[in-house]
Each structure stands twice: as structure tokens, then as C-alpha cells.
């Protein structure tokens, strides 16, 4: 836990440097081999990943397709600004539990989309959210077990192309409603399990700030939810750090195991330091 937080902070500091390096790398790729080639192959996404993984995970071994974690996304993104992504954890394959899951989108200007920490005994086996995808890219989920092993799953997403841009649709509305939250609670689907589903929605422009203004060449300032925690009665279910590629109006749907009948509490902090809090009673599940 301590170690994880430290690692995240370490990552946070040189983040701008990493972004810049990636931007340069992508630029060089496009310049060297022609945009069409660079954008259509899995190889260019993989090249970025090979350069990136040391920055994120050092020289630690990453086990691929071990079944501990699975990731799903549409083969072709429909709306570049809202690409649904589902991450599944198989508890049977990670008996000690999963500590965190990092979501990476290779070709985005800031590839580390978000890191999710999963509460002990929270019972989270499925997390779905929505992300911005700038171009043809692998989406990768890297799960870290309590024992410190890294497991990765990946899926390739073709960019939506055309005039679907990974940008805000209705900027005035996004600013006017910022900070509103909504929690939906879904009853358990199988009667034998205690797990139930929650969907947390937060109104926020969640602008990555990595679009370069073509008129001034300056980057548009970043403004996104960079810390989020979802707990039940002060017991962590799920938290998130990063969040740069999470779509406008961040949206998280996940299963969890309720412990008692305590309230669901949410705290979100954005890059301007604004704090948004809310809480809701746990709805009766019939258990």
C-alpha cells in the first residue's frame, strides 16, 4: 500500500517528461514511416509499449495472458471520446487477491490512463469505464497481485477515425454541471452470490489537456479528476489515480461485496484541487 502510493507519486512527478517523450516518439514514428502505416499496425503500438513499460514498471516481469486479468473493448471505437472498456479479474487465479490494475492506452499522449487500487476483500472482479482513444492502439490492463506479481491482458482498438474526436461534446454544459454525482445500484444477478453492482457517475469535463491548440501551438490546460475513492463505511472498495484518458463525465461500473449495511462514500479530487464528495445509503439487496 505504502509502496504503491510511493510508486504512483514517483510516476506523477516526471509525468510531463514522459508525455513529452511519448509525443516526440509518436511524432518521429509518423514522420519516419508515414502516418497510414504507423496508425494501422499493432507493431507501432507495441513499440511504444516496449519503450514505456520500463518507465511504468521498471524491469519487473510481466506475465501475459495468464488469465488473472482480462480486458475487453470494441474492435473499432465508435466514438473516440467514449470507448467502453471492461476489465475482469479472476479471483480463482489470484487467490491472495489483486492490489491494483493499471490501464494503459499506448498511443494516447499520456499512455497511463489510470491506476485502480482495489480494496482488500472488496470482491471487485469486474470494472467497466469509458476512455478516450486517440488512434489505433492496444489497451492494456496490468494487474498487480498482493504478492507483487504483474499480469497483463491486452486488446487492440482501431480508432474511430473521421470527425469523431476525443474531445468534449458540450463544453458549456460540462462546466455548468461539474461535480454532480449519481450512484446507481444494481441488485445481485445471481442469488447465490453476495456481490452486487454499483455505477458511479461524476460530471466533469475531464480534459486531458494534451490537445495542442493549432492556432497558438500551446497545450490546452489539463482539467481532470485525478484521484477518486469509493468506500463503504470507510472501507475502501476502489480508488483511482491518474485518470487522464478517462472520458468526460467519468463513469465506473463494478461489482463488489458489501460488508454490512454502511453507506457508500465517494471523494473525487481534480487537477485544480477541487474536492467533490457524496454519499448514499446502501440499497437493500434482498439478502
Amino acid at each position: 500500500m505504502q509502496n504503491h502510493a510511493y510508486r504512483s507519486r514517483q510516476l506523477g512527478l516526471p509525468l510531463a517528461t514522459v508525455f513529452a517523450a511519448i509525443l516526440v516518439a509518436v511524432g518521429a514514428l509518423i514522420g519516419a514511416s508515414g502516418a497510414a502505416n504507423a496508425q494501422q499496425t499493432t507493431a507501432s503500438s507495441d513499440r511504444i509499449w516496449q519503450d514505456l513499460k520500463g518507465d511504468v514498471f521498471g524491469d519487473r516481469a510481466i506475465l501475459v495472458d495468464s488469465g488473472v486479468v482480462r480486458i475487453e473493448a470494441p474492435k473499432r471505437a465508435q466514438d473516440a471520446a467514449i470507448v467502453p472498456v471492461d476489465i475482469y479479474i479472476d479471483p480463482a487465479k489470484a487467490p491472495a487477491g489483486i492490489k491494483s490494475v493499471t490501464l494503459i492506452i499506448d498511443v494516447n499522449p499520456a499512455p497511463v490512463a489510470a491506476t485502480f487500487e482495489i480494496g482488500k476483500d472488496a470482491g471487485v472482479t469486474h470494472l467497466s469505464t469509458r476512455v478516450r482513444v486517440d488512434d489505433y492502439s492496444y489497451l492494456r490492463a496490468i494487474a498487480e497481485t498482493q504478492g507483487g506479481e504483474l499480469h497483463m491482458a491486452q486488446t487492440f482498438v482501431k480508432a474511430s477515425g473521421g470527425c469523431s474526436a476525443p474531445a468534449l461534446k458540450n463544453q458549456d454544459e460540462a462546466m455548468a454541471t461539474m461535480g454532480q454525482m449519481k450512484l446507481r445500484q444494481f441488485p445481485p444477478q445471481e442469488t447465490m452470490t453476495k456481490a452486487q453492482e454499483l455505477q458511479l457517475m461524476i460530471r466533469h469535463p475531464n480534459n486531458s489537456g494534451l490537445q495542442r491548440n493549432p492556432l497558438t501551438q500551446y497545450f490546452i490546460p489539463a482539467h481532470f479528476v485525478q484521484k477518486l475513492s469509493i468506500s463503504q463505511a470507510d472501507r475502501l472498495i476502489l480508488s483511482m489515480e491518474g485518470g487522464i484518458s478517462i472520458s468526460e463525465d467519468p463513469n465506473f461500473r463494478f461489482d463488489f461485496t458489501a460488508h454490512g449495511t454502511g453507506q457508500i462514500q465517494v471523494e473525487a479530487i481534480d487537477t485544480d484541487g477541487k474536492v467533490f464528495r457524496n454519499q448514499w445509503p446502501l440499497e437493500a439487496t434482498g439478502l
Binding site: 508515414g34 502516418a35 497510414a36 496508425q39 494501422q40 475487453e72 470494441p74 465508435q78 466514438d79 471520446a81 467514449i82 467502453p84 471492461d86 467497466s128 469509458r130 486517440d134 488512434d135 480508432a159 474511430s160 477515425g161 473521421g162 470527425c163 469523431s164 474526436a165 476525443p166 474531445a167 468534449l168 461534446k169 458540450n170 463544453q171 458549456d172 454544459e173 454541471t177 454532480q180 449519481k182 446507481r184 444494481f186 457517475m201 460530471r203 490537445q211 495542442r212 491548440n213 493549432p214 492556432l215 497558438t216 490546452i220 472520458s247 468526460e248 463525465d249 463513469n251 461500473r253
Partner: protein, 323 residues
């Protein structure tokens, strides 16, 4: 193949205009580029002094040279106004050449109806002829956030040859709510809308002939694309219908069409899409599943349905979840 055709036409264009070019060097580029438009560029008269070009119902490509949206021209006694610049410089220059054949007045205004590439990629050609660009007050902001992405993503879609020279050029006259442009003998009424197709939609009404240039607030035949607000579009549909036009030049589809009958099909499409998405949300269905079926009953009614419906459903889901 299309590139070869462009090259060949360019060579022809240069050869044909070589003599006049010697005297009027500034015309060389324009005539040559106009000739480079390998497809027939047909500017049709839709009313007295009002002309329109009808784009093809396709996605932008090298083959169609980006000419997929409808463009408009209104001729006054002093000046000409152009509505949208098209999806490439080749198309824009073909338009400028065609205008030269119907009027000797200068093109004073280029009006951008919204931010999408098929409507604004020709802007640089109009800067070249010193036209003033007019747009919604949100348009510069939209270009800031998306312009670089458009140039990158369309390089792949339409090819290096066609993207070359295309620039994102923002308007210098901004429309906050309404604005009148006097062309001499006729006044255009511009209206800025709240978020609908995009958050920077602008319409142009020529009261002299009661012709409405609706931009992409109106789609006919080609499925509407949602890049703003479904609720906003539905909410403003009545206000749009109340415009006292007799004909409309839609952003996509047949030119011209009867008004306000032109709105019927898209209103139905959006109502069905909203109904299907609302039901999915109420049933607790996740976005990724809901978008597979929402609006499916409309498939037979639209061109490009499979290209855009799922995207529309995705945007609609994210919006309607907050109701």
C-alpha cells in the same frame, strides 16, 4: 489512382492557363486547382441569386476529394457569401472557380456552419481570396480542442496529397446569438444555436428568397451524426421548424428540400434512438451492449447507417444517463 488523376489534371490546368497566368499570376493557382477537381463540380441554382453544391453521401476519401457536404453561395449586388468551404482545398478552389462564373462580385464572407472537417477544410482557399470567415462564438474553442486531431486523423483517411496545405483557420467574426450580413440588395440572417449537432452550430437564412442553409442541423437521407447534444437537438427542433423558410439546403442530402418537411425523418430517428437508449438505461444494460441494438429499426431508412448509428447511440447513452 485518384492522386494520379489530380496530378494529370494539375498539369493540364497549368498548361491551359499558362498564357493568362503570365499576366495574372495570382489566378494560376486557383484555376489549376479548380481543374484538379476531377469530379464534376456542379453548382446548381436553388433560388434567385442562391446556389448550392450537393456533396455525395459517402465518408470523406481521396476518391471523392472530401466533397461530401453541401455548400452554398448567395450573391448580392455588392458581395458574395459562401456557406462552408468543403472538405479539401481542391474542392474549395473548384467552388471559388464556379462562383467566378456566376458573379463578378468579391467573395466577402465565408460562413462556417460548424467545426467538422467536411465543412471547414477548405477555409485556407477563402483566406487566399481575402474572404472574412464568420462562425459560431464557440467555433474557435472547438477548433482549439480538435483541430490538431482532425488534421492527424484525416491525413490517414483522405491521404497525404489531399491533406497538404489544409489549415484550421478560425472565424474572425463571431456570432453570439444573431447577426445580419448585408450583401447589397439582400441581408443574410445568421443564428447561433445551443448544442445540438455540435456545440457550434450556425444557420444562415436568406430572407429575400426564404432559403435556409441549415448546416448539419438538418440531414436528409444520410444518417444524422451526433457530436453535441441529442436532447439539445430535440429541444431546438421546434424552433428550427418555426423558421419561415420555404426551402432548405441541408448539410447533407438532396438540394434543395421542402421546409419544414425536411425535418420529419431526422426527428423520428432521434426520437427512436432516445426511446431505445432510455429503455436500455432503465433496464440496467451497460453502454457496450445497449449501443448494439439502439435505433436498429431505422437501419433501412438511411445511408451510412452502419458508419454512424452506433456512434450516435454511444453519445446518446452517455448523455441520457444523466436524465
Amino acid at each position: 489512382m485518384p492522386i494520379d488523376r489530380i496530378r494529370r489534371k494539375l498539369v493540364n490546368g497549368f498548361a491551359c492557363t499558362a498564357v493568362s497566368a503570365a499576366m495574372l499570376p495570382c489566378c494560376l493557382g486557383r484555376s489549376a486547382l479548380a481543374a484538379a477537381y476531377g469530379l464534376e463540380f456542379k453548382l446548381r441554382k436553388v433560388a434567385d441569386g442562391v446556389f448550392a453544391f450537393q456533396g455525395v453521401d459517402e465518408l470523406m476519401s481521396a476518391a471523392n476529394q472530401g466533397a461530401i457536404s453541401n455548400l452554398g453561395v448567395v450573391v448580392g449586388t455588392d458581395a458574395v457569401a459562401v456557406i462552408d468551404s468543403g472538405g479539401s482545398l481542391i474542392e474549395a478552389n473548384a467552388l471559388i472557380a464556379a462562383i467566378g462564373k456566376i458573379s463578378a462580385s468579391p467573395v466577402r464572407y465565408l460562413i462556417n456552419t460548424h467545426m467538422h472537417p467536411d465543412h471547414v477544410f477548405g477555409n485556407a482557399a477563402f483566406r487566399q481570396i481575402s474572404a472574412t470567415i464568420v462562425g459560431h462564438h464557440n467555433l474557435p474553442r472547438a477548433f482549439e480542442a480538435r483541430g490538431a486531431f482532425y488534421l492527424q486523423s484525416f491525413r490517414e483517411q483522405i491521404g497525404d496529397a489531399l491533406i497538404k496545405g489544409i489549415e484550421i483557420i478560425p472565424p474572425t467574426i463571431l456570432v453570439d446569438d444573431r447577426l445580419q450580413l448585408d450583401l447589397g440588395g439582400r441581408v443574410l440572417e445568421l443564428q447561433a444555436w445551443k448544442a445540438a449537432h455540435t456545440d457550434n452550430d450556425l444557420t444562415v437564412f436568406d430572407s429575400a428568397t426564404r432559403t435556409l442553409f441549415a448546416g448539419d442541423l438538418v440531414f436528409i437521407g444520410s444518417v444524422p451524426t451526433l457530436d453535441g447534444s441529442l436532447l439539445g437537438w430535440l429541444r431546438q427542433m421546434d424552433a428550427l421548424a418555426a423558421i419561415g423558410a420555404v426551402r432548405v439546403v441541408p448539410g447533407h442530402g438532396p438540394v434543395p428540400a421542402d421546409w419544414p418537411a425536411a425535418l420529419t425523418a431526422q426527428r423520428r430517428y432521434f426520437e427512436i434512438l432516445a426511446r431505445d437508449i432510455r429503455k436500455a438505461i432503465a433496464d440496467g444494460m451497460p453502454l457496450r451492449d445497449a449501443v448494439k441494438t439502439a435505433g436498429a429499426s431505422e437501419r433501412g431508412n438511411w445511408h451510412l447507417f452502419d458508419d454512424y448509428n452506433e456512434r450516435n447511440a454511444t453519445a446518446a447513452f452517455a448523455e441520457l444517463e444523466w436524465e
